[in-house]
């Protein structure tokens, strides 16, 4: 049951929207703010709130970048990628235990 405990303990990724954000970011590295909205089907305000939580917990960094126009870009950190992959692994193992 250790894996299940690890899964429950992670309050950051326990939220499905934040897990969705991290899974969308993992293969891409960095994603403009607006690209999350149609994928996750949430409001910009709600997305901003979840991104601030992820930034506070060092899972992502948020920066203004000049792409086609100045845009807010969300970038995954090394810490965030390791934690997300660990979370998926623990969830998988917890399901095996169940």
């Amino acid at each position: 049951m250790d894996h299940l405990k690890e899964v429950v303990k992670n309050r950051v990724l326990g939220n499905p929207v934040r897990l969705g954000i991290m899974l969308f970011l993992l293969p891409r590295g960095k994603v403009p703010f607006g690209d999350f909205i149609p994928i996750l089907n949430i409001t910009p305000g709600n997305l901003d709130s979840h991104l601030r939580t992820l930034e506070r917990e060092r899972y992502v960094t948020i920066k203004k970048m000049l792409l086609d126009r100045p845009r807010t870009v969300v970038k995954i950190t090394d810490f965030g990628s390791v934690e997300t992959r660990m979370y998926i692994r623990n969830l998988h193992k917890a399901l095996d235990e169940v």
């Binding site: 899974l23 993992l26 293969p27 590295g29 090394d78 990628s81 992959r85 399901l95």
Partner: protein, 201 residues
């Protein structure tokens, strides 16, 4: 309890997509080296350029390749590197070290050996050794998990004795070595793409 198998299926799909993305990124790094190598043979045999231009071409080519690889590597590490944080940080150092050792042995030591073989053949053998040793080191860094890399290790290694044989046959051994590396890298790229598509099918 029907949710458990369903959730497991979703997790499997997520994990497979992440692994597949990593494999496509590695394939891209092999493609990039092939572009640099083949572009040389498109330009240089047809245009009379001094020897220093060849040296500049390869110097700039290697720098651009390293820059491109470092970008690819950041993506790859995020998706595939071991989850132990210390090992995760050291992965880049080990890969850099394997290419440095391969470069030192293949491009530094072997071409300078005086064993009675002409310099262009020794340079070709050195180039094949450089690729084989470096990719082998990279393969070891990932604990031998990427079997797709094996053609890029074995084919150049098998090419070394044949390059020695070719030294007396009139064939340009460096041109031949580049074809061997192209074959090796093409096989590796095909293996990576096949594995990636198999995972997401």
């Amino acid at each position: 309890m029907e949710e458990v198998p369903n959730l497991r299926k979703v997790l499997d799909r997520v994990e497979n997509k992440l692994i597949a993305s990593g494999k496509v990124y590695v394939a891209m790094s092999f493609v990039f080296w092939m572009i640099i190598m083949l572009l040389y043979f498109l330009i240089f045999p047809n245009v009379k350029l001094p020897l220093w231009a060849t040296a500049v071409y390869w110097g700039v080519g290697i720098v651009i390749y390293l820059w491109f690889s470092s970008i690819i590597f950041r993506y790859y590490r995020r998706l595939r590197a071991p989850l132990n944080r210390k090992v995760f940080r050291r992965t880049g150092i080990f890969i850099g070290l394997s290419w440095a050792i391969g470069g030192f042995v293949g491009m530094g030591i072997i071409p300078d050996l005086s064993v009675g073989i002409n310099s262009i053949t020794m340079f070709s053998i050195g180039y094949l050794s450089f690729i084989s040793i470096s990719v082998f080191g990279e393969w070891l860094t990932f604990r031998g998990s990427d079997l797709e890399m094996i053609p890029a290790i074995v084919i150049p290694a098998v090419g070394i004795p044949i390059a020695l044989y070719l030294s007396n046959s009139g064939t340009n051994p460096f041109f031949w070595a580049v074809l061997v590396v192209s074959l090796a890298f093409s096989s590796t790229i095909l293996s990576y793409l096949y594995s990636a598509f198999k995972l997401i099918r």
